[in-house]
């Protein structure tokens, strides 16, 4: 099963690379989906550069969410930061309850069109999974392990870095993976406010009633999601195996 997944992802990667590097070679495949001699392959910009912009905004927004969410998670699991738990929870929950479209609508008048509002929407949307996972990762570190660390004279900072974070890492990484995947899809709406990204392809398809464009945008996003999910899951497994897990890392 494991190998099937790995091989599948390998094929998807190859297919994706060929497609975004030489999209025109797929023209015959998409021509049946077009009418009235419309272009079968997206022709209003380079797919490669759109894909890179798309990834860039997702990665930067998720990285920013991760820094804030993990930081908050650490803060509210300290004895001195416990009182900030309700506040942090509501903050993070707001980010998730507000639909990204609404955030865009509010952000545009404030920061203008382009990457900025998209970044804000993705950043807010990505906080919750990472925060909740950080919280559960840190709180499920066994009490006796922490007590042992204290009993051997580890300072609070060392306990955090040498014991708590390593033990919570797989769970935190899972949160980051979930946010990244959600944001890969959500980032397509950024194109409605003129952020560069794969949403442009989909929107162009919708505007000109071009099924081929629609499909191309959707497929590239879907393949990216599958690949990123596979890569981040592998990192998670590696982190978990460092914890002495039974699933020792095999080339997957």
């Amino acid at each position: 099963m494991k190998y099937v997944g790995a091989i599948g992802r390998g094929l998807i990667l190859v297919l994706l690379l060929i497609f975004i590097l030489t999209p025109d070679s797929f023209a015959p495949l998409f021509r049946p989906l077009t009418e009235n001699n419309a272009p079968p392959i997206y022709n209003q910009g380079s797919l490669l550069s759109l894909t890179l912009s798309h990834l860039a905004i997702v990665v930067s927004a998720t990285a920013a969410s991760a820094i804030l969410a993990v930081g908050l998670g650490i803060l509210v699991t300290r004895r001195s930061g416990l009182e900030f738990l309700p506040l942090s929870r509501s903050l993070v929950n707001i980010g998730q309850t507000f639909p990204p479209v609404a955030v865009l609508a509010i952000a545009v008048p404030l920061v203008g069109f382009g990457e900025k509002p998209t970044f804000i929407a993705l950043f807010l949307y990505g906080l919750l999974p990472i925060f909740e996972n950080t919280l559960s990762g840190l709180t499920q570190v066994p009490r006796v392990t922490l007590e042992a660390a204290r009993g051997m004279g580890m300072s609070p900072g060392r306990r955090l870095c040498l014991v708590e974070l390593p033990l919570a890492l797989p769970v935190i990484l899972a949160g980051i993976r979930i946010s990244t995947i959600i944001n890969l899809g959500t980032a397509t709406i950024g194109s409605t406010v003129a952020a560069k990204g794969l949403g442009e392809v989909i929107i162009a398809g919708l505007q000109s009633n071009n099924l081929a464009f629609l499909l191309q945008g959707g497929l590239v996003v879907a393949m990216l999601a599958v690949l990123v999910d596979g890569a981040l899951s592998a990192v998670e497994r590696l982190a978990a195996s460092r914890l002495g897990g039974d699933d020792t890392p095999k080339a997957s």
């Binding site: 066994p142 042992a148 009993g151 051997m152 014991v163």
Partner: protein
């Protein structure tokens, strides 16, 4: 020497440890016994300041522990936590190296020390150094926990029910190992247990706690022959009290002059085991001798039995 002076811990309305004073001599094993919830762990954890006392103080070799920064204090005191508390994300070697690393020992010295300890606890370094705790049996985990506590060569070792989860055979072995290590390094040990058998087996002195209070702090023999009225008396006063008393004394304490027929008994065997030998051999008396030496003394059933009751 550890001097515990009027140590008290209160949380809200409840008193977990109530005005406990006792002195633990250097190089001895003190066992703290008592029922669950008696305050044993709390007392132990006030020694390395994992819990801050409400009042009273602890002196180690005359120095108030409150005057030592808490992390430095704990680097000097080995601590075996109830339920072993090994770091699941670190290998056996990594676990044992914890305190030496905190102290900044160099790699070579740490590696040497880890191997030395693994050898000491009969865990082959080649096989065990790189295993993770969850791949060890309970007995092996427990040994690694003790090895970790001993890593930085502490003069004082605190152990909270270190053998609680072990089966009787492994437990006996672990206790024997502990005694051997204690003899070899002269470590001062304070050990908590709720097993009376273990207390009598290991303790040079036994502290009996109940309901937050220290009821009696004495040698095992004193505890058996002169128990404080009430809880302690009930605790030690079970039907096997004479046998416990016998296992505290050696053949050399009860032997009488003159030879006797039969297989000789070593003078360092305890009286309980000697009595078993006599019963099994169907003899009234057996010669006492080291190995193949000729016997000049003997041990008798009546001589042994007189040690199984308080001196008149």
């Amino acid at each position: 020497m550890i001097a515990i002076e009027h140590l008290t811990k209160r949380i809200g309305e409840t008193t977990l440890v109530d005005d406990v004073s006792m002195v633990v001599d250097t190089g001895t094993i003190t066992v703290v016994v008592g029922t669950s919830g008696a305050g044993k762990s709390t007392l132990l954890r006030m020694i390395n300041r994992l819990i801050t006392p409400t009042s009273g103080r602890v002196l180690i070799d005359g120095q108030d522990t409150m005057d030592i920064p808490e992390d430095r204090l704990r680097h000097r005191i080995g601590y075996v936590i109830q339920g072993n508390g090994l770091f699941p994300h670190r290998t056996v070697a990594g676990n044992i190296a914890t305190v030496p690393r905190l102290l900044g020992w160099d790699q070579k010295r740490i590696r040497r020390r880890v191997e030395e300890l693994l050898d000491l606890f009969q865990l082959d370094p080649a096989e065990f150094a790189n295993k993770f705790p969850r791949h060890l049996s309970g007995g092996q985990q427990q040994r690694v926990g003790v090895a970790r506590a001993l890593a930085a060569e502490p003069r004082l070792l605190l152990m909270d029910e270190p053998f609680g989860a072990l089966d009787p055979i492994i437990r006996g072995k672990a206790q024997a190992d502990l005694i051997a290590i204690q003899r070899r390094f002269g470590t001062t040990i304070v050990l908590v247990t709720h097993d009376m058998e273990e207390a009598f087996h290991l303790g040079d002195r036994i502290a009996v706690m109940n309901d937050a209070q220290l009821l009696q702090y004495d040698t095992p023999a004193q505890l058996l022959t002169r128990p404080a009225a009430g809880f302690v008396e009930r605790l030690v006063g079970s039907s096997d009290r004479p046998f416990r008393l016998l296992s505290l004394a050696k053949v050399r304490d009860a032997m009488e002059p003159g030879d006797a027929p039969g297989e000789p008994i070593d003078p360092d065997v305890n009286l309980r085991d000697a009595l078993s030998r006599l019963i099994w051999a169907g003899a009234d008396r057996l010669p006492v001798a080291h190995g193949n030496d000729t016997a000049t003394a003997h041990i008798s059933v009546s001589g042994i039995l007189s040690h199984g009751r308080p001196p008149q």
